[in-house]
Amino acid sequence: MRWIDYANPTRFLGLSATLLPWIAAATGLTFAVGLWLVFFVAPADYQQGETVKIMYIHVPFSWLSMFCYMTMAGSAFGTLVWRHPLADVSAKCAAPIGAAFTFLALATGSLWGKPMWGTWWVWDARLTSVLVLFIMYLGLIALQETIEDPARAAKAGAILTLVGVVNIPIIKFSVDWWNTLHQPASVFRAGGSTIAASMLVPLLVMAAAFTGLFVVLHLMSMRNEILRRRIRAMRMIEAAGAE
């Protein structure tokens, strides 16, 4: 069997049912290790003190807000080019999860900014571009819910998603292109990370845990959406039979 054969919704349901408990268990274990490192091993920052503990959730939420959008963009490409049966399901189900992670990136950033910067919010390029990403997620969810025909909703959503990809490099490089209150990149940057290993390791473990959480939530949500489409198809058959 080729890997592409798993694109069949029924095969996907079978495979995801097998994999989900293992991925969920690995995610739970990674969270346990990550939280232990954050609260009992990682040192306080010499300037920020213990407030740096917010970094271990804020940064993964920020990364995942963009990762989730790129997952949607890849799915949107699959919807438009190959009309892949699961591509639209993937894009639609990633949107609420991406919106939640982006909201959490903004909220935890605000809670970190107040004690460190002295303000909850500034209209600098990084914060504003992430707010635009959050609004785009909400717009995509609204679009999917507004159009009744799933095929039309998928096509419109895919086009809007691909147009919105332009915001991702703006978010990533906003701290380099403009003067921002937000600090520049300190992990994925030319010349290597500037964070000490004692803080980088817990950060990467937490990022892996949140990525696992995204995969679990996404797979669960995709399974629900496949069932929802089956129910819709069966109701149409039932209605046609009753005429």
Binding site: E50, P96, L104, T108, P115, L217, M234
Partner: protein, 59 residues
């Protein structure tokens, strides 16, 4: 243990746990609802075209 800004740290972790729990519960409840509706339709004898025996029982 959490220093002078413990309230901000606890609020950040608290809001993260709350939002993730709400999202998780919403997905679980939605899944149960879909499975219940599917079972109801199957109990009424409604079958998808691809699941009909006349077509070889293929999915």
């Amino acid at each position: 243990m959490l220093g002078n800004h413990g309230g901000f740290i606890l609020a950040a972790y608290g809001i993260a746990v709350t939002v993730i729990l709400v999202l998780f519960v919403w997905i679980v409840v939605d899944g149960r609802s879909q499975r219940r509706q599917l079972a109801d339709l199957e109990a009424r004898g409604v079958r998808r075209r691809s699941a009909r025996p006349s077509e070889g029982g293929r999915e």
